[in-house]
Symmetry: C2
Subunit: 377 residues, 2 copies
């Protein structure tokens, strides 16, 4: 193997470790991205760090602190280009320069317009060797929400659905109950926990008394992770174009929430939850506009847990990045409610999806499917 | 390890090989069971055989021929108790006695009332050591159809369905086309090939001009297996209570078929396909009675490839042993046709299934699900 090829293998090795560290921030970094950092000197890892929570030190700072004087002349592996701007913490590029590292390898450039190459530039200007693009695919997967927001001004939208094997979600009468088992429910709790926003509609809140909270005892995480998760629960957003949900609904009693509506906020809501007025037709909130508003507030990932109407509306409007469909081993029958309200007349209009994963979750199964944009079919 | 434990490990090892050989008859043995045989002497395999086609020699005979004189004093491993009766071939128990084997190990007793322990008894009477029950679970899986017929007088019924991710099979208008890709279609061809009967209904034959034949070039098998398969295609059975399908339908032109109907056979059918009159209500064939008739004719496995009405009827009546559902990565929408015509009012009536396998088949996925009888839920 050539020296260059050896270097590439080692770079990938240490970057994989940095990605592993970054994942520890899975539930907590937003609105910031998940970032990990490893400092390597003479083939030894001398410092590791990851970003835990917005407002707290970045991954590089943790790793540099751990390395101390050993950072001098070392190589730093970071899963995202070090920042060059003063946010709530000082720029990491400066910290790396000050610590005297000799080389910085980033998995990818930071698409944040406040950074966007300037972090690596700052390092290069200080005489530090820089590389970018090591395990970039993995690094992008880690921060799908942050990247979507930075690149498109929209959050990453994940729609969670639970259905029977024949594609139904509830009986015709509306009768419904957990159709999936405890392992699937626990997986849904973790999906909520990793999201910046859990979003639902008036139908679901009215019909099921849904609260959509994160419950510590159902997360299935260890004590440390559970504590981190519970320290920053996702914002619960209710789409209620006509303000149908009364303020004494369990949803509102379960903690802070944001209501997206088309109505001028009525008096009864004066002392209630925060309201966001999003114009729309026919008393229906304009969902794209709502998502843009949420992104502007720093929301990276939205988990939609709603009935066929609202989930169907997100789907029809092409706003969904990923479906997570939990399938229970039962048939609810041909008169039961559909997965999504989405009437289609012709086969040629049927949207295509790429099923990327199917995996057993307890007695149920989880399908992950990604819409294929019509242009690329 | 004790000598006994060692023997058990060796027995399982050779039986596994015998099962592997038995699987070579996957497409061709019916109405007979699939059977494999290995003859072992002094730790060496000296003969192997498997049953290929009804009317031809049984597995034991092939293996004994291969072993020749070396069979004397050897152990024979058979996946099913050797037969003791004169069928189209002489009893295998006698052949084993005559060859002078010292020990016979069977995976399971033959439930065929003409054998049912008498094969092993015959061997024991001749002074041969016998064992039964080695890898019995695997041996039973190999012959689900044969066992169902012997034990319950009914064939094993497998229902094949193809649906979108939202559980739909065709548009509301009836517009339909292959929704799954070539790998799934090839898998369906192999399901047809392994069945004794491929069964469909008038709706499918009328709407789709379905022929339900096995096509050599779509099987995805090697030349030898393909030739074996094509030498005994499954019987195609049309359920047509009111004789709605005209004799010039492509279905009838594609080869021999059996029509199950409630009607006295009309004149037009006089020179047409064989008809079986099965009484039923409202011009609907009594499906359980039809299955019993087919079992009486030696049918082990039935593949149902039908529309929501007929597949739904089999399901509602508890006649299905296994669903194989091919799932395509698309949504057909909420007005599209259901998987099964099976209206249910209450959650408590929703039938439970055990999903035993989900696997990628090309770009599609295949779910295998087994109904759980209501009593055991």
């Amino acid at each position: 193997m050539t020296v260059l090829a050896q270097q590439a293998v080692l770079d990938a090795h240490y970057m994989a470790r940095a990605l592993e560290l970054a994942r520890r921030g899975h539930y907590t970094t937003h609105p910031n991205p998940r970032v990990g950092c490893v400092i390597v000197r003479d083939g030894q890892i001398v410092g590791e760090g990851w970003h835990i929570r917005a407002g707290e030190p970045h991954a590089e700072v943790h790793a540099l602190r751990a390395a101390g004087e050993l950072a001098r002349g070392a190589t730093a592996y970071v899963t995202l280009e070090p920042c060059s701007h003063h946010g709530r913490t000082p720029p990491c590029a400066d910290a790396l320069v000050n610590a005297g590292v000799a080389r910085v390898v980033a998995a990818m450039q930071d698409p944040n317009p406040e950074v966007a190459g300037r972090g690596l530039q700052r390092l290069a200007q200080a005489g530090i060797a820089t590389d970018s693009g090591v395990l970039e695919g993995e690094a992008r997967l880690l921060n799908q929400g942050f990247l979507k927001r930075m690149e498109h001004g929209l959050p990453f939208v994940r729609v969670k659905l639970a259905m029977s094997l024949d594609g139904r979600t509830a009986m015709e009468s509306g009768e419904s109950q957990w159709i999936t088992g405890p392992a699937a429910r626990s997986a849904v709790q973790r999906l909520r926990a990793q999201a910046s926003v859990v979003l639902t509609g008036a139908d679901t809140v009215l019909a099921d008394n849904a609260r959509l909270t994160v419950r510590a005892d159902e997360l299935g995480l260890d004590a440390e992770q559970t504590a981190l998760v519970m320290s920053r629960p996702p914002l619960r957003v209710l789409v209620d174009g006509r303000l149908r949900v009364p303020l004494d609904a369990p949803f509102f009693k379960a903690g802070p929430a944001l209501v997206a509506t088309c109505m001028a906020v009525e008096e009864q809501y004066a002392n209630g939850p925060e309201c966001m007025i999003v114009a729309g037709d026919d008393g229906q909130v304009d969902l794209r506009r709502l998502l843009m508003e949420l992104a502007a507030r720093g929301v990276n990932e939205v988990l939609v847990e709603a009935g066929p109407r609202l989930a169907g509306a997100f789907s029809r409007q092409g706003l969904v990045d990923e479906f997570q469909i939990f399938i229970a081993g039962k048939f609810l029958g041909s008169s039961a409610r559909p997965l999504l309200d989405w009437p289609l007349a012709h086969m040629k209009d049927a949207p295509e999806l790429k099923i990327t994963e199917i995996r057993a979750v307890g007695d149920d199964w989880r399908v992950i499917a990604v819409p294929i944009p019509p242009a690329s079919v």
